[in-house]
């Protein structure tokens, strides 16, 4: 059956979101129709407001509502340390640790020629322009995938040329995990990057 036009349009828009198939889009659309009108208006307004107000931090390129994000504006953070991540959500993961006191830099992706992503499509120029000040160490925290490794290597070479220390997050066994249950890829990498006691 075909839905009446406003409903069909709503379903059509929802379907374009990542992870939402035709069935989920229908379910969401009918749910929205049953919501109080005020709630629907607030949802719509928050979508527009987020889109309008959220921009990239002028320093670290994280998403923020200000020109400069909260982490970059925090004078207690160590500005000689920069942790480079692929996506804004990776910052949230690092921040949950409450251990890291340096700054971040978000690349907004990883090098991936197959998807048409080259160095110019990432926030690499913005990163390099931050390195003129006093920097102790750059920690590259891209994902342990082929693309994450290639991106780390690319950045590592460029940053090393500037005489700055570059490190990469270790990969290996999950802490508290059992050897027997580790997947082979993780175990293999843990074996390759083992260290002396």
């Amino acid at each position: 059956m075909t839905f009446t036009k406003p409903l069909a349009q709503l379903i059509g828009h929802l379907e374009r979101l990542p992870g939402v198939g035709p069935k989920s889009a229908q379910r969401l659309a009918f749910h929205i129709l049953r919501m109080p009108e005020d709630d629907v208006r607030r949802l719509a307004e928050s979508l527009v407001a987020a889109r309008e107000q959220i921009r990239l931090c002028e320093i670290c390129q994280n998403v923020t509502a200000q020109t400069r994000c909260e982490i970059c504006s925090d004078s207690r953070r160590d500005s000689t340390l920069i942790c480079v991540v692929g996506e804004p959500k990776d910052i949230a993961a690092m921040e949950r640790l409450n251990e890291y006191r340096g700054l971040y830099h978000v690349l907004h992706g990883l090098l991936n020629p197959m998807d048409g992503v080259g160095p110019d499509n990432l926030k690499i120029r913005e990163l390099l322009s931050r390195l003129s000040g006093p920097i102790e160490e750059i920690i590259i925290a891209t994902n342990p995938t082929v693309e994450g490794d290639a991106t780390a290597l690319y950045l590592g070479r460029q940053i090393k040329q500037l005489g700055i220390k570059v490190t990469r997050l270790a990969h290996g066994m999950p802490v508290g995990g059992e050897l027997d249950y580790a997947d082979s890829a993780t175990l293999l990498s843990a074996l390759e990057y083992r260290r002396e006691l």
Binding site: M114, V146, D183, S184
Partner: protein, 369 residues
Amino acid sequence: MNVGEIPLGVSSLETRHWRNLVEQRVDLHPRLNVLVGRNAQGKTNLLEAMYLLSTGQILRGSKDAEVICWDETEALVRGVLAESETLLEVQLVGGQRKRARINGSALSRISDLLGRLPSVTFSSQDMALVRGDPAERRTFLDTSLSQLYPGYLQHLANYKRALEQRNVLLRAAQEQNVPDDQFEIWEADMAQHGALLRHRRKQYVLDLHGYGGPILCGLEPGESLAIEYEAKDRHADHEALASALSEGRREEIRRGTSLIGPHRDDLALSINGHRTRTFGSQGQQRSVALSLKMASLKVASEVLGLAPLLLLDDVFAELDRFRQSNLLSLAFDHAGQVIMTCTEVDQIAASALALGQVFSVESGQICRA
């Protein structure tokens, strides 16, 4: 089976909505299981269920959805390992990735099943090993090695991914300038993983050759089979491969594809110096394919210290009694559990049948005969 080797096998197998085996539960014999039935009754489907538990993959190149019963949304194959009583399960749900569980706990990747129940399979499709493209033989090497060394699969996946990325850059460089450093980051990965793949493959082929000679299946006296790894370039170690990739770049840009590395290599098979792909008779080609598989069984049992599962699909009809008994004794020497299919029970010697269990398979029903 050699002394000290642990025989691998499945003591009981269950299928649900798996091809035409709608709801089947079979207690298998620890050594020999013979599945007898006319064509298209479900014999091979049971063999495939075992292959699925062993590798997490589907034999015969079918798509995942094709193995689920018509009108059903999911299929399940479940087996209990004979020695350890480990429960292996693979579940297929239409449109989703296959999921595997070991003793009820879910594996993050289906490939983590590898190594629990190593197996060697032989069917008429394996003629492609001799007659087909080099890709068929590379796949044989890669799947065999993945069962012996689960880490191999990771190196292979990383190599292929870096190769694809580099190929995209090579083609892009035909139109516009691509700086060297953008190539180098993918070449570094290709060199690292590529050198490892070649090293493993070469060692494996040496072992195959070593065991392949003495245990030839069905070749005539005076015929000797040579199995050699044929690298299309000489760059064996990491550094050599990396510099060859960098030096070859200009020509590779012109051709738009990577010309150096293990993805171009082949397995050379020859009888008395003649390539079997072009020179062998059909009978010789079958013997070579079977010899290769039996050599891989022997190597697997040596490397693992385990006697792997052996799955033989409709092999016996093509062999005379002498070659049959030769094959069976090899199977008993090196395999743990053997599962074979045939259309007529009298294709197999009664003395062999006495060592195991015969099942009849009809319209998806499996019964002890």
